[in-house]
């Protein structure tokens, strides 16, 4: 295999581009595709203060690295989820990445700062772990961005993530979610804008980027995510991609170009809800008295009565 750009020895093939790349030109491709996405969807201004949602995994560290390489002022924000060894390892990778590059990383910990963790809290609140995790992270990222005066939150969502979410939304015709599935969510009442600059890169490419940049990312998969639908959709899409290179890209980008607008008028109507007001507990903007995160915290931390002794199989003793 030879690099399409320089004809030197290639290290990776990108079938949907029908091209191979050496290390140097693959890294340039990743930066160029990220810059193209930022420009295509007007994600960031040059002087924006950016807060990157960092997990210690390949996507968040890659997007942080690329934004820094592209000259953006980007700090990181990490949330400890309390998922045993997985969380300890993910924090280690995030902290080490920032320290090695002299970058600023803010951290928050669910157990330390909010009294619960994802495994126990999601069980107590009767929510799927991924749902409780997503809700918590979205709330805390928003809060951290407001507190720190950041203009934008950046996440490491890649093309595989977006195509898988789109597949799930289409399979179940979640039209309200389809209306909101955009690479950029503009700022609105109390919420900073949210951007996904990696939407033009697959996760194979973000992983390859990290390996070539010698970024030590967390390889282990979250134990709570095993068997979730998101992973099943990704596997199905990769089966399609095997015989039809570029299918994932077309699925997502043609949705944006040709179909997304059709769901948006309905979205605007559904979004014309009453003005948000501060959450009575934390002050975050919400449509209810209490925001979803504070409701989760309340359910996850409320005392649960403990039954003592054996309650099954105990024989009644008649007097």
């Amino acid at each position: 295999m030879k690099c399409r750009v320089c004809s030197g020895p290639a290290v990776i093939d990108i079938r949907r581009h029908n091209a191979n790349f050496c290390g140097e030109h693959f890294l340039k491709l990743c930066r160029d595709q990220t810059a193209k996405a930022i420009k295509q969807f007007s994600m960031l201004e040059r002087d924006d203060r950016v807060l990157v949602a960092v997990s210690g995994g390949k996507d968040s560290l890659a997007v942080w690295d690329i934004l820094t390489e592209l000259g953006y002022h980007a700090d990181g924000f990490y949330v400890g989820l309390g998922i045993a060894e997985y969380s300890a390892s993910s924090e280690h990778h995030a902290v080490a990445f920032a320290a090695e590059r002299g970058l600023t990383l803010h951290t928050e910990d669910l157990r330390r700062d909010h009294g619960f963790d994802i495994p126990n809290g999601s069980r107590a609140a009767k929510r799927a772990p991924c749902s409780a995790c997503g809700l918590s992270k979205r709330h805390l990222f928003d809060e951290a961005a407001r507190r720190g005066g950041y203009d934008a939150i950046v996440t490491g969502h890649n093309l595989d993530d977006e195509a898988a979410v789109l597949m799930g939304n289409v399979l179940h015709w979640h039209t309200d979610y389809l209306a909101r599935q955009m690479p950029l969510l503009p700022a609105r009442a109390g919420f900073p804008k949210k951007a996904k600059p990696l939407v033009r890169l697959t996760e194979r490419e973000t992983a390859a980027y990290c390996i070539l940049r010698e970024i030590d990312y967390l390889i282990d998969e979250c134990p709570m995510a095993a068997g979730n639908k998101h992973l099943a959709y990704k596997a199905a899409l990769n089966d399609i991609e095997r015989n039809s290179p570029g299918a994932k890209h077309d699925f997502f980008f043609r949705f944006l170009a040709q179909a997304a607008d059709r769901f948006r008028p309905g979205h605007e109507e559904s979004d014309s809800r009453p003005d948000v007001a501060p959450c009575q507990r934390c002050g975050a903007p919400t449509n209810n008295d209490t925001c979803s995160f504070c409701a989760l915290v309340a359910r996850a931390t409320e005392a649960v009565p403990i039954k003592l002794g054996h309650t099954r199989g105990r024989k009644k003793v008649s007097s």
Binding site: K58, R204, E241
Partner: protein, 66 residues
């Protein structure tokens, strides 16, 4: 050759020489979802791995809250 896989971590032995793309086929792994790494760097699909090679086959699929 020695092939290291993750999640869970395990090692398999294969006879070389063997092309990377053939190795992935034998492991029944999707090339869109995996990278092959040798000595810390990427190995292209057409590289022939020798009998004494040590490579890692790394899944790149991650999932959780989108």
């Amino acid at each position: 050759m020695k092939v290291v896989l993750r999640n869970p971590t395990r090692e398999l032995e294969f006879d070389g020489p063997l092309e990377v793309s053939v190795l992935l086929q034998r492991l029944d792994l999707h090339r869109e979802a995996h990278l092959v790494i040798e000595d810390g760097t990427l190995v292209p699909n057409d590289k022939v791995l020798g009998n004494d090679a040590v490579v890692e086959v790394r899944s790149v699929i991650s999932g959780g809250s989108p």
